[in-house]
């Protein structure tokens, strides 16, 4: 592959921003002759791509308000069409016409039949017609660059008068990116699947805690940001991108949101597959690849949690994992300006694209199974450090909050106030254990709480924040509880599970940790016991 770069001005700096493509520059202002003369460098067999990155202002000269007739522009378009038709094996790239704002003279430009604005529209219309006729012509919208980044940041008067360079360094970088993106989209190399987290990604808050009507999704403030993000996702889905959910949540909670939250823009049927469970996301992503029968190199993963992003980057480096915006108000524009052009560029959208989700959804429904994943290796990489404080008393507001708000990883769901907890801390009969968590991504603060009745050798409360679920930190908290009971001379420890609509995730917690079922109570709660060596 070899690119020939042509222009009517000096665009030499583009050569380095197009690396690693091999780009050779045509002679200065040779674009017209290269396109029209038989036997030119552009028509040589070793040139696979011809880039026409031209400056409209220089090409149009003084033609407006009826003076002059934009001859140079029309000649360029004719030469371009002829070249595309003579060399169907070569890819030709051209920018659209976009005259700078200094070519606008007055209010009349909006309405005058021969204003620069109407000339621009007419020339672009012709360019688009040529591109429709010749599939080897790839055009891109120059105006979009100016709208997004502003003319002042992209056009350099000093470089123009010093060396016929129209653009700033920033513009050359942007042009490099756009040309690359347009070529990838034209070659249909865009990604196909977007994997999405739910909590604090598709809506604000945690559905398992706040409930299906308590999540932030609506018409005001942050809630509207998520709604707009969903709107953009819906539009993307119609271009043929498959949306998939990979979320650590109870499936029932997710179902409820789809069934009864009227603010959801995205409906269940907009997703090709939904994985709401507590398994590592990497495992879910491999399964999604299997059921959709698509390679993970066509996947993009969006999640607000840096730990989840890092895990996917590490175990599936082929998946594109964009950084998540820090401020929620930037979520919709970040997605449309950065993620979509970088990952989901499309050169043409067909009717089949809009029906793609349905087709894949049907296929996905037929398959299901899990694959293995090295969870221990992943956890070791995280560099988790836990610190357990016993009766430290200086964070009881947070402790009370955890008992009030934690619904999922909560064995007994007993709610306590600060005063209740202060009594536990002061009494000799109870121990309040708080687990502080940090890993190489940062400090999460207190994320686990246990209250142990040392008079009975029984765990009264045992909970963990869903932020750390799946990282086995609860094991350390349980060990500490056992150790305290052992210290009081108990030879067994008692645990209790009180089922609620939210805490299914811990239904087998005690059994998984070597406890034996002792008794099922009529109210549904279950008592477990585990022998421990006397201390």
């Amino acid at each position: 592959m070899k690119f020939l770069l042509l222009s009517n001005v000096n665009v030499q700096p583009l050569v380095s921003t197009l690396k690693p493509f091999e780009v050779v520059s045509g002679a200065y202002n040779s674009m017209l002759s290269e396109l029209s003369i038989a036997g030119s460098r552009a028509s040589a067999g070793d040139i696979s791509h011809v880039l026409c990155i031209f400056d409209g202002d220089s090409l149009i000269g003084d033609a407006f308000y009826g003076a002059g007739d934009a001859d140079q522009c029309r000649m360029f378009l004719a030469a371009l069409e002829q070249f595309c038709s003579r060399h169907p094996d070569k890819i030709v790239v051209a920018n659209s016409f976009c005259f700078s704002s200094s070519r606008w003279l007055s209010f009349a430009d909006l309405t005058h039949a021969d204003s620069i604005k109407s000339l621009e529209a007419a020339l672009n219309q012709r360019l688009i017609a040529i591109a429709k006729e010749h599939s080897n012509l790839v055009i891109f919208d120059m105006e979009l660059l100016f709208r997004r980044h502003g003319e002042d940041a992209l056009i350099s008067n000093a470089l123009w008068y010093a060396g016929r360079i129209r653009y700033t360094a920033r513009m050359f970088e942007l042009l490099g990116g756009v040309i690359r993106g347009a070529l990838a989209a034209h070659a249909q190399q865009s990604r196909k699947v977007l994997i999405l987290d739910l909590d604090n990604t598709l809506w604000g808050g945690i559905v398992g805690e706040a409930g299906c009507h308590g999540i932030a999704l609506g018409d005001d403030g942050a809630a509207r940001c998520y709604r707009d993000f969903q709107r953009s996702l819906k539009a993307l889905q119609r271009t043929g991108v498959l949306l998939v959910i990979a979320s650590k949540n109870n499936e029932a909670d997710v179902d409820e949101v789809f069934a009864s939250n009227p603010s959801m823009i995205l409906k269940r049927e907009d997703f090709a597959a939904i994985c709401a469970n507590w398994r590592p996301k990497v495992e879910n992503i491999s399964e999604i690849a299997r059921v959709l029968n698509l390679g993970t190199e066509s996947f993009v993963f969006i999640d607000d949690n840096p730990v989840e992003r890092e895990a996917v980057r590490k175990f599936m480096p082929e998946v594109a994992v964009p950084e998540f915006p820090e401020r929620v108000e930037n979520l919709p524009t970040w997605f449309l300006r950065e993620v979509v052009p970088a990952c989901f560029g499309k050169y043409a959208i067909t009717a089949e694209d809009s029906a793609k989700t349905e087709q894949y959804r049907a296929n996905a429904a037929r398959k299901k199974l899990a694959q293995s994943f090295d969870l221990d290796g992943y956890l070791a990489e995280l560099g988790i450090e836990c610190n357990i404080r016993v009766n430290s008393g200086n964070d009881l507001v947070r402790a009370a909050q955890m008992t009030q708000k934690t619904n999922q990883f909560n064995l007994t769901t007993r709610r306590y106030t600060v005063a209740d907890l202060a009594r536990f801390v002061e009494s000799n009969e109870h121990a309040v254990l708080m687990l502080d968590y940090r890993d190489r991504f940062g400090d999460e603060g207190s994320v686990g709480l246990a209250i142990v009745d040392l008079g009975q050798g029984q765990i009264d409360t045992f909970l963990a924040s869903c932020r750390v679920i799946g990282r086995k930190v609860e094991d350390q908290l349980l060990d500490k509880a056992i150790q305290l009971c052992r210290g009081r001379g108990f030879n067994r420890i008692v645990g209790e599970y009180i089922p609620t609509r939210k805490n299914e995730i811990v239904a087998s917690f005690y059994e998984d940790h070597g406890f034996k079922l002792v008794e099922r109570h009529p109210n549904g709660s279950i008592t477990y016991e585990k022998p421990i060596d006397a201390g």
């Binding site: 000096n10 030499q12 700096p13 350099s156 008067n157 000093a158 470089l159 008068y161 010093a162 060396g163 360079i165 700033t168 360094a169 920033r170 050359f172 970088e173």
Partner: protein, 85 residues
Amino acid sequence: MEALLTKSQSMQDSKLQAAIEIVVKALDVPADDIGPESSIENTPAWDSMGHMSVCLEFERRYGKALALENIVATASVRDLAAIIP
């Protein structure tokens, strides 16, 4: 006084160093080819196109647009160091 002089000397050195780096990167030449005394006169790769690359590399690094008079007047590593912010 002496300390002040040393400080201003070391600032000048670091600007010279930055100017050398810009020219090396822009002209894509080995680092040893460019020194404090390099200029358009004595550096073959530093032709008129090379000079544009130097100016663009300067703008890229400092996020600052050069004025036409700076572009025209700058003809050596020392000139370039003098306009480094």
